[in-house]
Structures are given as structure tokens and as C-alpha cells.
Point group: C2
């Protein structure tokens, strides 16, 4: 029994959301090593940058108009031309066909679900000089669940979906021993990992008194992730090897379904097929007011990518999501009973 | 049940020593606030510097020749003349009598035990313009157990003796509301605290795979403590309020006695009265070899202050301790059975 579990205040409702606390992940009985075709980095951008550097210079990146703005910022910084495509659009192949030079396509496994684009057709369209990378940064185990071929790759984000300090996995069709050795010689992101683990350890106290410091550490971690390639920490890799992929996915789907059912018809829910859900996304009008009421009810829901790099005229769906999407937590720390309580609070905050 | 408790390897002996893991402290049923006469800082040096700044300029500091070298370094940096006195020496009053100007006496509660000097006589000797501060940085609760008077103070070090990220307490005879407000406005040591909590969270996995990263975080934390006054983090203060002083002291004395008995006559043990032991200190010849054997046996014992600012001719006792002292862990994470296992390993390492 962890004595920290005794911490907590009876007078304050439990919080939903915020940093995943240390120790919340379902574990295997024995650790399971990473597949040979995988390389482990500190975080998604580090993996993406490595992928760009190891593959030689791309000329243009075809990316979603609704993604974390650090992704287009990084690609521009390393000299790629950007071509934005609206989310859920059929325009990907057309965009690929109309761009010149070596192409990098970043195809989102949006919110952890199946890519909405046909990856093998895109891979054929970019040709041998191009590359399609499935951006599964919102999954813990996309590197196990999405297929790769000669000119496709996957980047997953276990650090975002499990209580790790760091960890993003790049899966490719083949990894040479020489490349593996080069990644092992990279530095690790000690400052960001320290802040992240500090935030998670305070969240594990499950007490409001620790939340402001936890938030400060989270902000510090986000600011400290470097653009340059960094490997995963040794402890991060070891802890990743203990995570149970099936129990992880089962818990998230169980909670997603419980919350979906409990929310009923009162809320507009984004429903996407396959994969493992990162959150349960709802679409609301007057999001700022809803978020404020949710926060007052201790539901630390987030507006996802309000600053996504879209153009409202060219990317109407991205614009809509960037303005209205709210992510509700359905992760492995929660039970179905928690989801009923969460639904109650969400419905109350929507009614006003 | 914390799932991290399942981590660990059956093939490797458990480790002794190293960073206190998160969650190892005995807790109260209800939190207990700090006494009114206390101010909470990030770490001992921050408290000491605040004490010097709030008291106006001291001319000279009378300190032990056997103390952490960061203490004389700080006092010199802020312009005090240093007068070193040998440990366990009767020379303190004579040193005070022979120094001119406003005096600050740093009287050690050495290894958590009772001060070997007579604090009230020293306080009389330094007069109204001087100050005697009991350096109880090797205790979690020296601010509760050592008495203060008009020109005496205590600095305790809960961060060193409990699984906190930060926390050093300055107890004075009186604290004004204005001074309390000024301390609250100080920054907190976010970088050091992040690294410390990261190290502790990895230590809580109780697995050798995490130890190298934990050590890296510990080193980073030690390098990151600022000289300037910093307040304690809000979460550090809150966590401190939950610690059980009596159960803490009982566990340390229970372990100290169990280890002392199990070590028997094979080892030279430093025995000091009162207080709460920081460790069980033994004195060994050829310390480097003994430490290497202990580390190989996964006993992460430490040489205490090999770089203490002493002069071997003037401070023979400090010289002896700085050369021969090894601190063995007896803290609250251990049971009596652990102490028997620790004694076995220590005796094996001493016999060679």
C-alpha cells in the first residue's frame, strides 16, 4: 500500500483529467522488449526530426491542418515547405500529386484512432523518394498496432498516454544496427523528464494541494522538450517495457463506451473507428464558458489545439474542431463508476 | 496497491541507501501545520542565507570544521570571516570569545543528535548582537525538538530525511507577519525540486534498471539548489504537514539499534546521544576499498564530507571523520529484518 494513497481531502470532489499520475498503468507480469524495427526517442518531435535527418532532405511536408502546432513549426524550422490538408478530407492524394520534390506525408492516427487516409495508396503516390509517417503520437502502442511497409513509418507517443517521463517510438520497416547505435548515443532530455516525473508524482497524491505545483512542472516540461533528436531515458524505456498494451486499450475503450453512454444525446460526440481512444472528444459551442464551468467542477478538460495552424477558409473542418473540441479523460486511471460521475458533471456544465 | 510495487527483479539483491523513495514516510491521520515561529525554505543554505540577510551583517561565522563544504562556501560568499572549530571540541566558547564583531555561530546537531555544545552558554557569549543557529539540517523535525531563545535559531532539513522534493525549516524565537509575507513572495526552486522528485519516483520502482537515471537526477538536483533564498514549494509544505514526527523518530532509532546490535564488535561505531539519527556512522580504515565492496554488494553507503573544509593540524577529529566515516542507512523505509541483512553485507565487506 502506497502511503501517498492516504493523502486527499474529503471535502473536495475528486479531479478528472490533468497529468497521468505515476503508477496508474496496467502492467505485464513480465516485461516485453520493443520490436527490432523500433527506435525509442524522448518525445514525438525528437523522433520526427530524427526521421527527417536520417532520410535525407525532404522538400515538402503534407500535414493535417489540425495537429499540434509544434509539428509544422519544427518542419518549417528544418527547411520543409508545408502543405496543409483539412482533417477528414479526401484531398490528401490530390495534395501529394500536386506537390513537387521529395515528399514527407504526416498522416494522423487522429486521437488514437485509425488513420482516415489510405496509407498504402499515399505511399504509392509519394513514390520511392517519399515517406508516409503515421502520426500516432496520441497512442501508447501505435508502434505495435499500425502496419509499416518499405516507405512508411509510425511514430507513437507512450509518454502522452501512460505515466512515463518520456518515450516516443519510431517504427520503420527496417532498422540497422548502426542506426540503433547512433540513437543510443544521443543525449536524453533530462530537464523535461525531471519536470514531467515531478508533475506525475504530485498528481499521484490525488490532492488539490499539489495541483498548482504539478501544473507548474507540466508547463516546465512542455517548454523543456528540445527540438533536436534525443533518445528515451533508460528508465523510461524500462518502464515502457512493463506496460500492458491489451489492458491499456481495454481500459480506454471500456471507459470511452461508459462515458459515451452516460452522456447520452445531450452532447455532440466525435465518433471515430479503430485504434485506442486518446480521449472522448465532444464538440461544444461557447467553449471558453463550458471549459470554465468544467474546471470549476474539477474536470480539467482541454481544448485541443485551439492554435492549430489552419486557415479557416481552406480548412473548415480543422477550424470547427480547433474552435469547438473539448477532450474528456477516459484513460486507464479511471473506472466505469468514475465515468458516470464525470458524465454527471459534464451534463451539468452543458445545461447552463 | 501501487502497481509500481510489482516492479523489481528477483535475481538482484535489494539495494540499501540512495535517494529516499517517494511514499516511504509514516504519515499522520490529519496534517499538522508548522508552528508560528517557523519559516519554510527550499533547502538549508537558502534558510541560512535568509537568516543572515534578515539579521543584518554578521562579521564572522564560527562553524564546525566538519560540515558540508557548501556551508562555509556560502558564508564566505556573503562576506563573513570564517572561524573553524574542531568537531566535539571544547573550543567553541574560546573561539567566540576571541573573535571580534557581530558573530554568527553555526552549532551542529551533528548527524541529527543533540548539539555537543552548550547552546545557551554560546548565546550568552555572542551577546545581543550575535546569533547561535543550531544546524539540524540532518533532521526532519529539529525545528520541533530543539529549543530556541532570543538570539538562537534552528535550521532543520526535512528534505534530507523524508521523501520530499524540498523543505528546510528556520525556527526563530519570533517571526513577524511582515517577514512571513516576504518569505511567501520568494521564488521556489523548481528545477532542483523537479530533479529530486524525479529521482525519488524512480527509486520508488525499487529496481536496478532505474538507478542510473535516478542518480543522474540526484546529481542534477544537487547542482541546481540556488544559493539565494527560495521558499519551499507549496506541495513540499503540504507534504511536510502530513509527516509523523514520532513514528519517524521511532523508526530511525529502532533501525539504528537493530543495526548496531547486528554489527556487534566487528565495526567501530560512532555513538552520539539524543535527537534522531540521520544514519548509523561507522569508522573504517581504507575507506575507498570498503565503499567499493559495499557498492558491489548494493549497499550505497556514503563517505560523509570527505571534502569538509578542515585543516588536519588544527582539526584532528574532523580530519579523522572526513577520512574514515561511512554513513549506513537506517531510515524509515527499512524494517528490522532489513537491518539484519544490511549488517550481514557490511560485516562481509569489512572482513576482507
Amino acid at each position: 500500500m502506497n502511503p501517498l494513497a492516504r493523502f486527499g481531502s474529503a471535502t473536495t470532489a475528486p479531479a478528472f483529467g490533468g497529468e497521468l499520475p505515476l503508477g496508474c498503468d496496467p502492467l505485464l507480469a513480465e516485461p516485453s522488449p520493443l520490436p527490432e524495427s523500433c527506435l525509442a526517442f524522448s518525445h514525438g518531435r525528437a523522433a520526427l526530426r530524427w526521421l527527417c535527418e536520417r532520410s535525407g532532405r525532404f522538400d515538402c511536408a503534407v500535414i493535417s491542418a489540425y495537429t499540434c502546432p509544434t509539428v509544422p513549426a519544427l518542419l518549417e524550422k528544418i527547411g520543409l515547405r508545408l502543405r496543409l490538408v483539412d482533417v477528414f478530407s479526401a484531398d490528401w492524394e490530390q495534395a501529394v500529386g500536386s506537390e513537387k520534390g521529395r515528399l514527407l506525408v504526416v498522416a494522423p492516427a487522429f486521437l488514437g484512432h485509425e488513420p482516415a487516409v489510405d496509407v498504402s495508396r499515399l505511399a504509392a503516390a509519394v513514390g520511392e523518394s517519399g515517406l508516409v509517417v503515421i502520426d500516432a503520437a496520441q497512442t501508447a502502442f501505435g508502434h505495435l498496432s499500425f502496419e509499416t511497409a518499405e516507405n512508411t513509418a509510425v511514430i507513437s507517443g507512450p509518454r502522452k498516454c501512460a505515466s512515463l517521463g518520456d518515450g516516443a517510438i519510431l517504427r520503420m520497416h527496417r532498422v540497422s544496427e548502426e542506426e540503433r547505435a547512433r540513437v543510443k548515443r544521443l543525449p536524453w532530455a533530462i530537464e523535461a523528464v525531471a519536470a514531467k516525473l515531478a508533475a506525475r508524482s504530485l498528481m499521484a497524491c490525488r490532492s488539490p494541494e499539489n495541483e498548482p505545483d504539478a501544473l507548474a512542472f507540466t508547463a516546465r516540461a512542455e517548454a523543456a522538450w528540445p527540438d533536436a533528436p534525443h533518445r528515451v531515458s533508460d528508465s523510461g524505456l524500462w518502464r515502457l517495457s512493463w506496460l500492458d498494451p491489451k489492458a491499456h486499450a481495454d481500459a480506454r475503450w471500456r471507459n470511452w463506451k461508459a462515458l459515451e453512454q452516460a452522456l447520452g444525446d445531450h452532447v455532440e460526440i466525435l465518433r471515430l473507428p479503430g485504434g485506442t481512444p486518446f480521449n472522448l472528444s465532444i464538440l461544444v459551442e461557447d467553449r471558453a464558458a463550458v471549459l470554465a464551468r468544467l474546471h470549476a467542477a474539477r474536470v480539467f478538460a482541454t481544448a485541443l489545439w485551439p492554435n492549430a495552424r489552419r486557415r479557416h477558409d481552406l480548412h473548415p473542418r480543422a477550424e470547427d474542431l480547433a474552435r469547438r473540441l473539448v477532450g474528456l479523460p477516459i484513460d486507464q486511471r479511471y473506472t466505469e463508476a468514475d465515468m458516470l460521475e464525470l458524465a454527471k458533471r459534464v451534463r451539468r456544465c452543458m445545461r447552463r
